[in-house]
């Protein structure tokens, strides 16, 4: 029996009395997944990422969402936000907080949304991410149960961030979940959506999430994906974005945790004036493996994209970056910029990077650059002449390297959390406060 087939065994017994079209969709996903099988290194998109740990694993689907408030607090951020919480993929009413929503905003778990209006939601789900995108999206279609559905009406500016937490527990046996995230931002609306993947130490679950974000004319969406799962967790995500004219989408893809993390981020710029900004940071150590595949499709003239991904790798960690920009025929007056910089802290760490451009129009300004190297020894020296010891100097410079991405973060709580984590992950395990103190002293001097 193939690995793919084993994953689909749960299908029949688990899902009954669903609307027939939902059943049909599951079956289509299952058929596609079985036909594709798990990707191997022979697939160009998976050349550097080995998913055997997922394919050969045994993961059970989850029924309960038990997680005490104190344990949840330890994992999540204390944000003033509208909050949806999923525990191993199951919605937790107790931990969520979506009461008192202002008018024009709807934030609900997928099951509720489907119960109340399965036609409206079901039609939107899967519109951007069909079963053909990858074997994992097909698997998600076959097995997805729960997720977050966010709908923002025309012209509504959401006053607080929308905070979606996926908590992974340290279960006796590994679990899996296949969540969906759907964000529909109406014309001229504005919102910030955070997908936070957090886990207890020792959690070794498999999360396979598919997100779809649709921006109508003039909508502005900030999207954060913060990955802080345990060093055993397996995570595959794809985020699909569709943008109408004059809309602006900004992504922050911040990867700190997980044993194997793969994220695909795809944006279709479909009309004039649409703008996509991709910011990424990954800091991996031990035997962590992080793989970011990004794609921007410039489908219309006068669209803009800018991408900046930074990676720090230590120990035997491995990083993969594949950024692609496609400018379609007749998509003139495009600007597309892409940058990827990596810092290798260990000789056993490895980075595989491939920034791609595919351009079919001539009136374009496109560039990409990538660098991999070490800290600037002259900068280290300059700091040492100011009485800072070498370890501290290296810490400061590494933090500054990450800072270029973190400066763009508009939520201070997230910026601080990530910076603190970066400082703590440095070989010398700095305390952020110490570093900040030294940095301030330098600026005063």
């Amino acid at each position: 029996m193939s690995a793919a087939h084993a994953f689909l065994q749960r299908l029949g017994e688990r899902f009954s009395d669903e609307p027939t079209w939902v059943t049909a969709r599951r079956q289509a996903g299952a058929a596609r997944f079985e036909a594709l099988g798990f990707p191997t290194k022979r697939d160009e998109a998976w050349k550097y990422t080995d998913v055997r740990r997922i394919a050969e694993g045994e993961f059970a689907l989850t029924d309960d969402a038990e997680l005490s408030a104190s344990r949840f607090e330890a994992l999540s951020m204390p944000l003033d936000a509208y909050r949806l919480v999923f525990v191993d993929g199951v919605f937790s009413t107790a931990l969520s907080d979506v009461e008192a929503l202002p008018e024009g905003i709807s934030i609900e778990p997928l099951t509720t949304a489907m119960r109340t209006n399965h036609e409206a939601i079901g039609g939107a789900i899967g519109r951007l991410a069909g079963v053909d995108f990858s074997p994992f999206t097909a698997l998600n279609v076959a097995l997805s149960e729960e997720g977050a559905v966010v709908r923002i009406g025309q012209g509504v500016v959401v006053d607080k961030p929308i905070y979606v937490v996926f908590a992974s527990r340290a279960n006796e046996a590994p679990r899996m979940s296949h969540p969906r995230v759907l964000v529909m931002a109406g014309a001229r609306s504005q919102a910030t959506v955070i997908e936070h993947y957090a886990g207890e130490t020792g959690a070794a679950n498999f999360t396979n999430v598919v997100s779809e974000v649709m921006l109508e004319r003039g909508a502005i969406v900030d999207h954060y994906k913060l990955q802080e799962a345990s060093s055993e967790d397996l995570h595959v995500a794809s985020i699909h974005v569709e943008q109408a004219c004059d809309s602006r989408f900004t992504s922050f893809n911040l990867n700190l945790g997980g044993a194997l993390v793969r994220t695909d981020l795809v944006t279709d710029l479909n009309a004039q004036g649409a703008e996509a900004n991709y910011n990424g940071l990954f800091f991996v150590q031990g035997r962590q493996h992080v793989d970011n595949h990004t794609l921007v499709n410039h489908n219309a003239p006068q669209t803009f994209s800018n991408e900046n991904y930074k990676g720090i790798l230590n120990d035997r960690a491995r990083g993969v970056f594949n950024g692609k920009v496609i400018v379609k025929r007749d998509s003139q007056q495009i600007e597309a910029y892409q940058n990827n910089a990596n810092l290798l802290l260990s000789d056993r760490a490895e980075i595989d990077t491939k920034p791609e451009l595919e351009i079919y129009a001539d009136d374009v300004k496109c560039s990409h650059g990538t660098t991999t190297g070490q800290l600037d020894e002259e900068a280290v020296f300059a700091l040492r002449t100011r009485g800072i010891d070498e370890q501290m100097a290296r810490g400061l410079l590494t933090l500054a390297f990450a800072g270029e991405v973190m400066d763009q973060v508009r939520l201070p709580a997230i910026a601080e959390r990530v910076e603190r984590a970066v400082a703590g992950k440095l070989p010398e395990r700095f305390n952020l406060a110490d570093l900040v103190e030294v940095s301030d002293a330098l600026q005063e001097a």
């Binding site: 290798l344 000789d347 760490a349 490895e350 001539d362 560039s367 990409h368 991999t372």
Partner: protein, 480 residues
């Protein structure tokens, strides 16, 4: 801009397309063990060579034609190709230019390469390959004096079997890839160069490859070995007669540089690109690889690619020796319906290895081109350094330019940089030139030549002149 006028200019005829009528000694189309035995026998090869070829053939049978390149062409029928073609009277080879078939000399005249004059004036020894057999070799004595061996690969297999056996396939193994395996099985000619220890080759070596008899593919095999502290500069240039049927070309070039050796390999490629519908052009699937085997050795590839309907070519360097250096300078120009997928691989194995990649792509008309490159830094390559610059210039809104740079870095002391830009010729630059009385045509040529300057200055003098002229012809009127 009168676009019709421009279109007329774009539709220039291929000026170097003509056919010389020389009877060929050709085998019927098709490929099997008998064909290979025929070739081997015809070349008077020893037994081991035939076995080598057959082994390659068996590997090839098990392989699949690669499809990953950004290329689109009808499937190739390998049984419809004739794998051997030689000018008449191969045993009775001419000893000097006077003995060469006058028709062949005429061909050179038409190409603007008066062989004797050119060779004498430029001090270049020419090993002219007309179809598959070397017809004439000049300056042999002068080279022999210096101890340099420069002959056709067939001669080398006969006269220097030990050298050939030692190095052939040591850089590009028989089963390296589909086209290399095919070449290993059926190669009919090409050049062999051996520069002994401490010798600086007294002149630039040059081979003009020609494709002539209809339906024959060209399967050249070139092997250049530079012993310790030796140096050589090798020039390869190509033109071809106009054809209706696609012609397959699958060459293999192997370079070996031992300690402190330096090999400079320059190519100007101007094969028939096909008519305006893309019909009839050359399919060019080439495997070129250099092995910096010795410490402090250096291999430099420079190429100007303006011809062929399909180009699939990635001249590469394996930087094995400590502190060895690899370079790749490339200008690729595509127009009409040409497609090019080209680039390089720099494999850093040894400590302190350095590589530079400068690639300039110019796409016009309905053409498509891709830069595809790999920079790999292994765990032992401490302090390895790479700089890559690849820029694309788009002329017209029906063409495409793509960049696929792979970087695999497994060493924290390595520094690897990649920069790429894609743009069109600046309106302001054109305006500036035109405001000073320079015609648009000339202005475009100036700007494009400036764009390619970094590569052209790496070419040997006479090649640089030729390359600039070639570029101007290729892009004639491509601006609108």
């Amino acid at each position: 801009m009168a676009s019709q006028e421009m279109e007329q200019l774009v539709r220039r005829e291929y000026t170097q397309g003509f056919v010389t009528d020389i009877e060929s000694d050709t085998v019927p189309p098709g490929l099997d063990e008998d064909t290979i035995a025929f070739i081997s026998n015809k070349k008077g090869e020893p037994e081991w060579m035939l076995e080598w070829r057959l082994d390659a053939y068996h590997q090839w049978l098990k392989m699949k034609e690669p499809s990953w390149a950004h290329l689109d062409y009808p499937p190739i029928d390998y049984q419809a190709i004739s794998y051997y073609s030689a000018p008449k009277k191969p045993e009775d080879r001419p000893q000097s230019l006077d003995e060469v078939d006058p028709k062949l000399l005429e061909t050179y005249e038409k190409l603007g390469i008066p062989l004797h004059e050119r060779a004498a004036l430029a001090g270049v020894a020419v090993d002219a390959v007309f179809d598959s057999v070397s017809v004439t070799t000049t300056f042999k004595e002068k080279l022999a004096e210096a101890g340099v061996i420069f002959c056709s690969i067939s001669e080398a297999i006969r006269d220097y079997p030990e050298l050939v056996r030692q190095y052939l396939g040591s850089v590009v193994p028989k089963g390296d890839n589909y086209f290399a395996a095919l070449n290993s099985a059926v190669f009919t000619d090409g050049s062999f160069v051996y520069v002994p220890e401490g010798v600086e080759c007294p002149m630039e070596l040059s081979t003009y490859f020609r494709i002539n008899a209809a339906n024959t593919g060209q399967f050249e095999r070139t092997l250049i070995v530079c012993d310790k502290q030796a140096q050589v500069s090798y020039l390869e240039g190509c033109t071809a007669p106009q054809r209706d049927e696609n012609q397959l070309h699958a060459a293999v070039v192997e370079l070996v540089a031992l300690e402190d050796a330096y090999i400079k390999y320059s190519t100007v490629q101007n094969w028939y690109p096909g008519d305006e519908d893309g019909k009839g052009g050359i399919y060019n699937f080439v495997t070129k690889r250099g092995d910096c085997r010795g410490d402090r050795s250096k291999i430099s590839w420079t190429q100007v690619e303006t011809g062929s309907a399909i180009t699939w070519k990635y001249p590469s360097c394996v930087l094995r020796g400590k502190d060895s250096v690899g370079e790749f300078y490339s200008v690729a120009v595509t127009n009409g319906r040409q497609q090019a997928d080209t680039g390089t691989k720099m494999i850093h194995v040894g400590e302190g290895t350095r590589s530079t990649i400068v690639s300039k792509g110019i796409a016009a008309g309905n053409s498509d081109q891709a830069y595809r490159g790999l920079v790999k830094v292994g765990p032992r390559a401490k302090g390895a350094r790479n700089f890559t610059q690849c820029d694309s210039l788009l002329i017209g809104d029906r063409c495409g330019a793509h960049t696929f740079p792979y970087q695999e870095i497994g060493n924290s002391s390595a520094t690897v940089e990649h920069e790429a830009t894609t743009s069109k010729i600046g309106e302001d630059q054109l305006f500036y030139c035109q405001a000073r009385g320079i015609s648009e045509e000339d202005a475009v040529n100036m700007i494009v030549n400036g764009f390619c300057k970094d590569v052209f200055q790496e070419l040997p003098m006479e090649f640089a002149v030729e390359a600039e002229a070639l570029l101007n012809v290729t892009l004639e009127g491509a601006v609108g």
